[in-house]
């Protein structure tokens, strides 16, 4: 507790001879205390809980709380309204309230649509304290309450959410003129257009409004921004600019006519506003370097892909061609080789054939040389059977064996030797199982 009680009774005079170190004598300590539960209710308990939980002493807590309070007061000060009043504004006719800048009247020009209700209330109070007609009268000036009426009208408009929106809709001072191409160059481009769209965004039914961003914004952000604004859902309305409807009741037709006219005007303005925003977006997107950049990036990526694809295709074609050529070459070679082989084979075959023929002739002639193994003139039957046997042997032998046999027989003139050679051959063939025992018996 920062407060203190005051006791009027006086303190005793210090007795003679009383002395202590540092003028303080500790003589005892407190009696034992009782444990009780304090009720966790009320601001002072909260302070106690804060001290207990943060383990602060009274003085520490006082200090911290004081610091926090100071901060709060500063926050309040920041919202203080201190704008110089335009002398011409003070002379305004309150009847022309539609033409007045309500924010300027309350001294909130720098806040405008951003002013909170609290700020408006506080601004109003401040202005009332200054401009109340009774106060002016007391100060001896004329009883002119014109500006006071302006203040009341401004407050009435701004504290009514519907009326405030109507006024904000047509509050030209809150608008930011789109920069010209000359102005919006380089870094300034983003700064200037940002403020334009920040101002435009105040009409949006959907909050928060995406930001315009800067040169380094990602493609998603930029796309989100443009999508948002191309599909802008605006609460902007133009009732405030309505021409007053005569309210005298005598000319109902005129009243209706005026109302219809107003309605049409509102619709027209609304459409114009939408068109204006669209044009604004078209303009900005046309000059937006980021879009170009993203386009380029996209194209580059696309081209790279295309080139890659083409290269791949080309390579594939070449590969196919080379393969085809190689295949053709191989086929041709193989064909040629086969042809050569064939020719070779034919010759060899013929040679072999010839050799076989020759050898056969040798074989046949050998039996003839041996006089068909007969003594004396061989009968026709013997010759026949011997030759049959020779044919049998030949038919059973392959050309090599025939050749070998022929080689053995060549040069042999003696019948016995020839016979021996044949016998050996027949025996070999019987051994090899080519002849059955008993066959070609005439050669044995």
């Amino acid at each position: 507790m920062a407060s203190h009680n005051t006791v009027t009774l006086p303190l005793p005079v210090l007795p003679e001879g009383w002395s202590a170190e540092k003028d303080f004598k500790a003589l005892g300590s407190l009696s034992a205390a009782t444990q009780r539960t304090i009720e966790p209710v009320g601001p002072h308990f909260l302070a106690h809980a804060r001290r207990a939980r943060h383990k602060r002493t009274f003085s520490e807590d006082d200090r911290i709380q004081a610091q926090e309070n100071v901060k709060k007061i500063e926050d309040d000060d920041a919202g203080e309204i201190s704008e110089p009043e335009d002398p011409s504004m003070l002379l305004r006719d309150p009847k022309d309230w539609k033409g007045q800048d309500h924010y300027a009247v309350l001294g909130l020009s720098k806040y405008r649509y951003k002013a909170s209700e609290e700020q408006i209330k506080r601004a109003h109070r401040k202005k009332v304290l200054k401009h109340h007609p009774d106060k002016k009268a007391a100060q001896g000036s004329t009883e002119d309450d014109g500006f006071f009426k302006c203040i009341q009208k401004a407050t009435e408009t701004l504290l009514d959410p519907v009326k405030r929106r109507q006024f904000d809709s047509v509050d030209e001072k809150a608008e930011v003129e789109p920069p010209s191409k000359k102005q919006a160059t380089g870094d300034k481009y983003y700064k200037l257009w940002s403020s334009v769209f920040k101002a435009e965004g105040r009409f949006s039914n959907n909050q928060p409004v995406p930001k315009f961003g800067d040169a380094n914004s990602t493609q998603e952000d930029v796309e989100a921004f443009y999508n948002f604004f191309y599909n802008f859902d605006s609460w902007r309305s133009f009732e405030y600019l309505d021409e007053t409807v005569p309210d005298d009741g005598e000319s109902r037709d005129q009243k209706r006519h005026q109302e219809r006219k107003n309605n049409n005007a509102r619709k027209k303005r609304k459409t114009e506003d939408a068109a204006r925003l669209r044009k604004l977006l078209d303009d900005v997107s046309a000059s937006d370097e980021r879009i170009k950049k993203f386009m380029k990036q996209k194209n580059a990526a696309k081209n790279a892909k295309k080139a890659e694809k083409e290269a791949a295709e080309k390579k594939a074609i070449e590969d196919a061609k080379a393969k085809k050529e190689a295949d053709e070459k191989a086929a041709k070679e193989a064909e040629e080789k086969a042809k050569a082989d064939r020719e070779q084979g034919k010759k060899a075959k013929e040679a072999a054939k010839n050799a076989v023929k020759k050898n056969k002739r040798v074989l046949k002639s050998s039996v003839k040389d041996a006089n068909y193994f007969a003594t004396g003139d061989a009968s026709a039957a013997v010759i026949d059977s011997v030759l049959n046997d020779v044919d049998l042997v030949i038919s059973k032998e392959d050309p090599d064996e025939i050749a070998a046999l022929a080689a053995k027989l060549t040069g042999l003139k003696v019948a016995g030797e020839i016979k021996g050679a044949w016998t050996a051959e027949v025996t070999r063939l019987v051994g090899a199982g080519k002849l059955k025992d008993g066959e070609a018996k005439f050669l044995v």
Partner: protein
């Protein structure tokens, strides 16, 4: 109270909190707007919403509309159910439910068998469900009033609400979509409502909070120390409450009715219900005016009844009940080990506190110095029926912005259970007699530690060196019989009504007795007419720091006393 965590706390930013006083007979809801708590009316325009639910053909009625159903549809009307919450059937008192739906045992809790849907089938509705429905209606009214969806609340409960009752209440509230930020004790809520008034100062005082309700009276003695409250004693009474005053009127008029008719209206349920409602209305008008009429159409036997009563008669026939209140309050002061002289403030709370007789009785029980906060004795008093809801709303606005976890930690017994001084600590001052010291309390007994108090005390007129003697002090009551002075006798003669009996008058005083000496300190060379500032700071472990200096002077003396 550590059960706040039972409900899953919503983020503080989305909280819209109200204060609810949920009573056995009536409930009320309060909102804090710009640091000012206001009790709000429901759609019927009632600030005191009867805690009654009634069902007709599946349609739910709440509040005054439901109460009216007690006459015609008593079996489907649930009243006086708050105290059944979280209780077993064997431990409830169903007296007051005789004329409405009767409580029955259901599983481990209490339920009512009522026809709450269309058709003839009866369904068993637990008291928890009834509470949920009632709270839903209250929340709906508050949401409609404020235009925000109310999702959290501080609810007041009697000091003797058990842990299981608290859990049951929190659960019922949760089912009604309500996060219970905190349950606070009813007397403390009432006290908070008074202390939060801009004109009230933070002081060290002992307060008796008498919560006189419809079916029960709860009295608490609370030590308010620098805005921190400690309950010293409580008493609960179920025999002296609003309904007993109603009963007095019922009997009175029933007898009058019998004089002219043959039937006793108290024997016919419907007649009795009518009699009860009118008796309550009559009691309320007697709190405001000195005369009240009592009229019921077709009370019994088709006969209408009309009569009047004045306040004096009412106070005479209700004497027994009023004396019961007196005894209850005097008893609890004694229970706290205190004397009526120790009481600085009496707060009368609850609907029955409107009765002027009760406040007048308090006025005569307690000394002149005691403030009696009731509408008939203090014109600025807050409506006693609204105190608790207001206190709850104030507490709600205080803790609304805290995380549920923070609230739980702050209300944890480790934070709330602290040492309280048994003796006052003060300094000795002197009167004319310079040898004898007069004890001047700096920190009074029952102050929760850590505590810090500062006093400014005069130095002797001549200035010079002064002695500061810090001592413990106790108080006792000194009774002296005094002779009346001639003047007083004359005064008595003039208004010769109450006090003129010949008994010798007793003078009872609160006297400080000097106890243990704690420390001595000296301040030298105090200026003429100067003042000395003494600050005593007692830490949580009873270690004491004493700082003394001349006001406006430099330096000063500082000393420590270690804990015993």
């Amino acid at each position: 109270m550590g059960e706040e965590s039972a409900t899953n706390g919503s983020a503080p930013a989305q909280r819209h909190a109200i204060g609810i006083s949920f009573g056995n007979s009536n409930s009320s809801i309060a909102l804090t707007v710009e640091d000012k708590a206001e009790v709000i009316a429901n759609e019927d325009g009632d600030r005191q919403i009867p805690s009654v639910l009634s069902y007709v053909d599946g349609e739910e009625y709440n509040g005054q509309q439901a109460k009216a159903q007690l006459v015609r549809n008593s079996q489907n009307t649930v009243a006086y159910f708050r105290d059944f919450l979280g209780q077993e059937f064997k431990s409830i008192d169903p007296t007051h439910n005789h004329a409405s739906a009767h409580p029955i045992a259901f599983e481990s809790t209490v339920a009512f068998e009522i026809q709450d849907k269309e058709g003839d089938e009866k369904s068993t509705v637990t008291v928890s469900e009834i509470t949920t429905r009632h709270l839903k209606r209250l929340v709906q009214s508050a949401s409609d009033f404020s235009g925000k969806s109310i999702n959290s609340a501080v609810i007041t409960v009697p000091t003797n609400f058990s842990e299981s009752q608290k859990v049951a209440l929190i659960k019922a509230a949760k089912d009604a979509g309500l996060e219970v930020l905190q349950l606070i004790n009813e007397p403390i809520a009432a006290l908070l409502a008074y202390d939060a008034r801009p004109e009230s100062k933070v002081a060290d005082k002992i307060v008796v909070v008498a919560d006189l309700g419809g079916t029960r009276s709860d009295v608490a003695v609370v030590a308010s120390r620098g805005g921190m409250y400690t309950i010293l004693a409580t008493a609960h009474d179920f025999d002296f409450a609003g309904v007993h005053l109603d009963k007095v009127l019922e009997d009175h008029f029933a007898k009058e009715f019998i004089k002219w008719n043959t039937t006793d209206p108290r024997t016919i349920p419907r007649s009795y219900a009518k009699l009860k409602l009118e008796a309550e209305a009559c009691k309320k008008s007697l709190s405001i005016g000195t005369n009240a009429s009592f009229s019921i159409e077709s009370l019994a036997e088709g006969a209408d009844f009309a009569s009047t009563i004045n306040r004096l008669r009412y106070e005479t026939i209700g004497r027994k009940v009023f004396e019961g209140f007196n005894r209850l309050i005097e008893g609890v002061v004694k229970k706290a080990g205190l004397d009526v002289l120790d009481i600085d403030e009496v707060i009368l709370s609850g609907g029955t506190s409107h009765t002027p007789k009760i406040a007048n009785n308090m006025r005569s029980i307690f000394p002149e110095t005691t403030t009696i906060l009731a509408p008939s004795t203090t014109p600025t008093a807050i409506n006693p029926s609204e105190l608790q809801a207001r206190g709850a709303a104030l507490q709600a606005s205080l803790i609304e912005s805290f995380e549920a976890e923070d609230i739980e930690q702050s209300t944890h017994p480790a934070v709330t259970t602290v040492k309280h001084l048994t003796n006052a600590v003060g300094v000795l001052a002197i009167t004319g007699d310079e040898t004898k010291g007069v004890f001047t309390p700096v920190i009074v007994a029952e102050t929760a530690v850590p505590a810090r108090r500062t006093i400014h005390i005069n130095a002797p007129p001549a200035g010079g060196d002064v002695l500061i003697k810090v001592v413990e002090g106790g108080s006792h009551i000194k009774v002296t019989q005094i002779e009346k002075t001639a003047e007083e006798k004359e005064a008595d003669a003039e208004d010769s009504d109450v006090d003129s009996d010949e008994e010798p008058e007793e003078k009872r005083e609160k006297i400080w007795k000097i106890g243990k000496v704690l420390a001595e300190a000296a301040i030298k060379d105090v200026k003429k007419g100067g003042k000395v500032e003494v600050m005593i700071n007692i830490a949580g472990d009873l270690a004491v720091t004493i700082t003394a200096r001349e006001v406006g002077g430099k330096g000063g003396v500082r000393g420590n006393l270690s804990a015993a």
